[in-house]
């Protein structure tokens, strides 16, 4: 199976105006989405943002209050899950713990009435790939977490679904193992070419795994794009603040125009925004602007140049340090690399490179410009 | 209703003093006083009588009065379920707790209770205090004096009841001239109270009108009382339960089979509740006017005559049960079914005193008062049948008929193991009524079971007991047996 990430991509799944309400509470608010064949799409967002609900609606475990879902052009909005041929991996794996691993894997195939020989063949193939051959005869209750995840995945893949849905499957794995399994998963998806939708609240995970990320908040789609797009061009304050750790520094600034020069002003400092003056003016800047700069883009400048900052906290993380800086009375975070040997309590000089800065409307939260100057 | 009870209560309280005029009661009281003086019993000593809930209303006032008169504390222990009484009595026989001083039980359980060593023979006390069982104007109705008091040649109980069955019929229908005309035209003989069972069956057929909501009869064919419909025919035909010399059952004989066939043939004129229901079915069907006649206990007389409980009040007649002709003579036989008797526990603290209490309750005047009140005890002494209050409670027409039926009544099997013999008979008769067995099978299976019971209990003893029991049957039945060669004359006590 080949990857299909080029411009000529088929739409596998389509959500049009999908809406879900529970007793007046809006869980999913009119979502439109196209999912392409062979892609790894992540649903990302805080708890309660509606990502799992959306996933379950795609699987057929919930029914939309409104809107339509199309799979391969066919309307499946009210089709029962049994008929959709969509695989689902649950957060706690939902293995049939009274059955052996073999029977778990065989379940979907036996329902489809494949011959025992064929079933056996497929299972052995998949078991080898997932390194489950040794545990095939074991009862599902006796497995460790990593094996369980693989069985859950294998079980879903064996039925050769059009689409595989995963609901935070790595949530219960301890950090060290988690990264390894993440990498496994990504590799597998590449090899199989299977379309996957992966739900997570961990933005790091989404950034590593996803071909595209769908950022959700309060039932709405905030932004959908590749990890790079989302990182470099967050479409609003929410996305900007959600992606990246430590989160983007956000500074409220005033817009000033003096003799054909446009500035944004903060405390005693000013930055020129001439290059994006048009966008800024269109965004009704009198209602307030926010300047955003990611900690990793805050640069140390030579002594005496730029902005003086008091180092409040240094979090040494080996290769990099996270600094909490106090400028005037505001706290900002900065990430410095390569053993800069900064000490707490010292005064350092930093600068905000305009080409890495972002501007947002304080009023609507929408992005005004990315990369000024 | 309640004011009536109050008046009765007052009258009885007054009559209570009259009880002292009754020599039987007087002797009992004197005996109790003597025992108290001798220190055998103390004032305030408790005596407990086990009774059934049906007698509570009748005995409670008497017991209270006696307590007052003697200074003793006499209590009634009321059991709601008849079968429980037997169980509790047997339990007492094993446990010997002394919790009960007197038992009021079915009179045919006396045999079992005596054999279990539970009750004491009363011969000496009866001789000493004379409760006037057999002699005098207040004596028991014969032959009840025998079968409610004796077992195995000894006295064990004082009978407190008369359960000879009565034939209750729709007087209005029987005496209706139109009905009489149609009957005579159809069957060629007059419509009148039957002398023979054959007549009974004809009249039943005649009055079976399901389309009018009237069925011919209601006879008991239930699990508990089926034998009461078969036995009177059987005995009247000259049947006898067991051979007097060998104790072999004699029920699967032509008399027995014929009797059963006759009863079963009536089923098409009766409701199926005759065998699927229980004893209370007669007490609903007859007063509701759904059957022409029924054979039941005297208490049905109250129910059927009281306008509050009966739709046919005022239309009820009472008759003797029919019989059979043998060589031109009519022999009637009425089953005496149940019959409550007082017996004295061996394990009470003062059996003689307990006996005296029983004698007092049993005395002509006191027992008359008890029976006048509503309950399951019915008149059993001759003076009861002359007591205007008592007769008023029963209905003037019922009294004489009850007396007649009592005089022609024969007892339930009262041997050791009576419950077993009767239950096996009942269950097979009930099965035959349900069509599960043919009459021959029912009776021969019963006979086989009876043999087995007799063997298990010891044939020799049973033969002795049976020979004594034969002597308690009414004279005319014994005469019939001798006449038919069923019983050798020397064993018939004639």
């Amino acid at each position: 199976m080949e990857n299909k990430l080029g411009p000529e991509r088929n739409v596998l799944l389509s959500l049009k105006g999908v809406h879900k309400e529970f007793n007046g509470f809006v869980a999913v608010n009119r979502i439109d989405l196209d999912v392409y064949e062979g892609e790894f799409l992540c649903f990302l967002g805080p708890s309660g943002c509606g990502k799992t609900t959306t996933l379950r609606m795609i699987a057929g475990l919930e029914t939309p209050t409104d809107g339509e879902i199309y799979l391969k052009g066919q309307r499946i909005t009210h089709m029962p899950p049994q008929q959709r041929n969509i695989g689902f991996v649950f957060q706690n794996y939902a293995l049939f713990w009274h059955m052996t691993v073999y029977d778990n894997l065989a379940f979907g195939l036996r329902i489809r009435r494949l011959s025992p020989k064929e079933i056996d063949r497929r299972i052995r193939e998949v078991a080898e790939r997932f390194e489950l051959t040794d545990v095939l005869r074991k009862k599902a209750t006796y497995l460790d977490l990593s094996s369980m995840q693989r069985v859950a995945l294998a079980r879903a893949i064996l039925i050769e679904p059009y689409l595989l849905l995963l609901d935070e499957p790595l949530n219960n794995i301890r950090p060290g193992l988690r990264e390894l399994m993440r990498a496994d998963l990504k590799r597998m998806q590449r090899d199989l070419g299977c379309t996957m939708i992966y739900v997570t609240h961990d933005q790091e995970e989404a950034m590593t795994l996803g071909d595209r990320i769908l950022v959700m908040n309060e039932g709405r789609v905030e932004q959908i794009g590749s990890p790079l797009e989302i990182y470099q061009q967050p479409v609003n304050l929410f996305v900007a603040g959600f992606i990246g750790r430590p989160p983007m520094n956000l500074i409220p600034v005033q817009y000033e125009v003096t003799a054909e020069q446009a500035w944004v002003v903060w405390k005693g400092y000013r930055w020129s925004v001439n290059s994006v003056k048009e966008q800024v003016e269109k965004s009704k800047p009198e209602r307030g602007l926010v300047l955003g700069i990611r900690p990793e883009h805050v640069r140390l400048s030579p002594e005496g140049l730029g902005i003086p900052a008091l180092v409040e906290v240094v979090q040494p993380l080996g290769r990099k340090d996270i600094l909490v800086l106090k400028i005037e009375d505001t706290l900002l975070q900065a990430v410095v690399y390569g053993g800069a040997k900064v000490r707490e309590g010292a005064i350092i000089w930093v600068e905000v490179p305009l080409r890495d800065a972002h501007l947002f409307s304080a009023d609507t939260g929408r992005a005004v410009a990315h990369g000024i100057g | 209703m309640t004011w009536r009870k109050w008046v009765l209560g007052l009258v009885l309280a007054g009559l209570g003093f009259l009880a002292l005029a009754d020599p039987v009661a007087e002797r009992a009281l004197a005996g109790l006083r003597e025992l108290m003086n001798a220190g055998v019993i103390r004032p305030g000593q408790t005596f407990r009588i086990m009774i059934h809930s049906g007698q509570r209303g009748q005995l409670a006032p008497a017991v209270e009065e006696l307590s007052r008169l003697t200074g003793l504390k006499i209590e009634l222990v009321v059991i709601g379920y008849e079968a429980d009484i037997y169980n509790k009595a047997m339990h007492e026989a094993i446990v010997r707790s002394g919790d009960y001083d007197l038992f009021l039980t079915f009179c045919n359980w006396i045999g079992d209770m005596a054999e279990a060593g539970l009750i004491v023979p009363l011969d000496s006390w009866i001789k000493k205090y004379d409760p006037e069982i057999h002699t005098g104007p207040n004596a028991y109705v014969k032959p009840l004096d025998l079968f409610t008091t004796q077992y195995g040649g000894h006295y064990y109980a004082l009978g407190m009841d008369n359960d000879a069955l009565v034939l209750f019929y729709r007087k209005d229908l029987l005496e209706d001239p139109n009905e009489q005309a149609v009957f005579e035209a159809r069957y060629g003989r007059p419509l009148r109270l039957p002398e023979t069972w054959e007549e009974f069956d004809l009249i039943t057929e005649f009055f079976d009108r399901p389309e009018q909501g009237l069925r011919g009869a209601h006879l008991y064919l239930t699990r508990q009382f089926a034998y009461t419909s078969w036995a009177p025919r059987f005995i009247a035909k000259g049947g006898i339960y067991f051979d007097p010399l060998t104790m072999d059952p004699r029920i699967d004989t032509p008399e027995g089979v014929e009797a059963l066939k006759e009863v079963l043939a009536l089923q098409k004129h009766m409701f199926p509740e005759t065998y699927t229901g229980d004893w209370s079915a007669a007490y609903t069907f007859f007063p509701e006017g759904k059957v022409f006649w029924t054979i039941a206990w005297a208490s049905l007389g109250h129910w059927a005559s009281d306008p509050e409980t009966s739709k046919i009040a005022g239309k009820v007649g009472f008759a003797q049960l029919p019989g059979e002709y043998h060589e031109g003579e009519l022999y009637r036989a009425t089953p005496h079914v149940v019959g409550w008797s007082l017996s004295v526990s061996r394990y009470g603290k003062a059996p003689e005193a307990a006996y005296l209490i029983a004698q007092w309750l049993n005395s002509p005047s006191v027992s008359a008062q008890c029976i006048t009140r509503t309950g399951t005890l019915d008149p059993f002494r001759l003076n009861h049948f002359k007591d205007p209050n008592l007769l008023a409670a029963y209905g003037p027409a019922l009294g004489p008929v009850l007396l007649l039926n009592a005089e022609q009544s024969f007892p339930d099997i009262s041997l050791r193991g009576a419950n077993e013999y009767l239950d096996v008979l009942n269950l097979n008769l009930n099965a035959a009524a349900a069509g599960l067995l043919t009459p021959e099978e029912a009776l021969s299976q019963t006979a086989r079971a009876w043999q087995e019971i007799t063997d298990r209990l010891g044939r020799g003893r049973q033969i002795e007991s049976w020979q004594q029991e034969i002597l308690r049957y009414p004279r005319h039945i014994r005469e019939l047996w001798v006449k038919l060669g069923k019983v050798p004359p020397e064993l018939a006590g004639l």
């Binding site: 475990l61 049994q82 969509i86 329902i111 039925i159 | 037997y86 699990r223 269950l427």
Partner: protein, 323 residues
């Protein structure tokens, strides 16, 4: 002096600023009492004594009675003659015994099966939320709360020849179709079994319902996404998960049903004849109505042995599979 529990529950005493194990005699008794195994034994002892006192002597007496020939009307039970196994011989040649046994087994088989299926079906139906669910559940449970006697009497009245059931039948199918329920063994047993089913289906419902509630929703959903229809989900996922609880409920109910007495006693007294007698009624009749306590004791022992055998042989493999 300070006492507390140190390692392994041993009693520790603080003396002169140091902690050491209690070694004095009182201390060591306290130590002994505090050891877990002894404590466990102590907890169980009162109940164990009570049960032994209540169960062992009567059981010994029953065995004694079965080996002698005694009825209350024979006199003292301590002087009853020893007859060895003749009571047992007699019971094995009594056709009524086998009929009663077979009948009881049939009643249990039919009654418990229906209760199980109905209870399970109801539990599946109720395994979701809907308006008034709590009320419905309470209503379903009512029959179980009624005393046996009341249920027996109600059904007796229902199935009388002129009762409501026949009334409905005659209205729907005409008067010729009515059945005289208590006049034959088979129809009477139908009425009895219906009474038992009505009364005890709520029990099976309750057990199934609780067991179902413990099945994680995800298991069923996973099966759904794998393509299983409702029946397949029930058969391969739900049922195996609840099997242990359901099995226990079935065993409890079957053992209870085997003792069936009140219903039959109220409704037919075992009649007509003895054609609806269950094992309990047979023992009751023999033992309490006829007073043949020795014989009844022998029957009781045979029944006990039979049930124990069935329990061991029949039930063990079923349970083993789960554990």
């Amino acid at each position: 002096m300070v006492c507390f529990h140190g390692d392994e529950g041993a009693l520790m005493i603080k003396e002169k600023g140091k902690f050491k194990r209690a070694t004095s005699s009182i201390g060591s008794i306290a130590n002994l009492l505090n050891r877990e195994s002894v404590f466990k034994i102590m907890l169980v002892t009162p109940m164990q004594l009570l049960l032994s006192f209540l169960l062992v002597p009567p059981f010994a007496i029953v065995i004694y009675l079965a080996l002698v020939n005694w009825q209350p009307i024979f006199g003292s039970w301590t002087e009853a003659p020893f007859v060895g196994v003749s009571n047992f011989v007699r019971l094995f040649s009594d056709r009524q015994f086998f009929w009663a046994l077979a009948r009881t087994v049939v009643i249990v088989a039919i009654s418990v099966s229906f209760q199980f299926i109905l209870g399970m079906a109801l539990a599946l139906l109720f395994n979701r939320e809907f308006h008034g669910k709590k009320v419905c559940v309470s209503v379903i449970l009512y029959p179980m709360m009624l005393p046996w006697v009341v249920v027996g009497f109600i059904f007796y009245l229902l199935f009388l020849d002129h009762g409501p059931v026949n009334y409905v039948i005659s209205s729907v199918f005409g008067p010729g179709a009515t059945v005289s329920w208590f006049s034959s063994s088979v129809t009477a047993l139908v009425a009895i079994i219906l009474a038992d089913i009505w009364q005890w289906t709520p029990f099976m419902f309750l057990m199934s319902y609780s067991a179902l509630g413990a099945v994680p929703k995800e298991l069923r959903e996973a099966a759904m996404t794998l393509g299983a229809n409702l029946w397949q989900i029930f058969r391969y996922v739900t049922f195996p998960t609840i099997k242990p609880v359901v099995l226990i409920a079935l065993i409890i109910r079957a053992l209870e049903c085997f003792k069936i007495f009140d219903l039959i006693f109220i409704m037919t007294r075992g009649g007509p004849g003895v054609s609806t007698e269950s094992m309990s009624l047979y023992i009751y009749r023999m033992g309490f109505r006829y007073g043949q306590l020795s014989f009844a004791a022998a029957v009781a022992i045979v029944v006990l042995v039979a049930i124990s055998l069935v329990a061991r042989i029949g039930v063990r493999p079923l349970l083993k599979e789960e554990l």
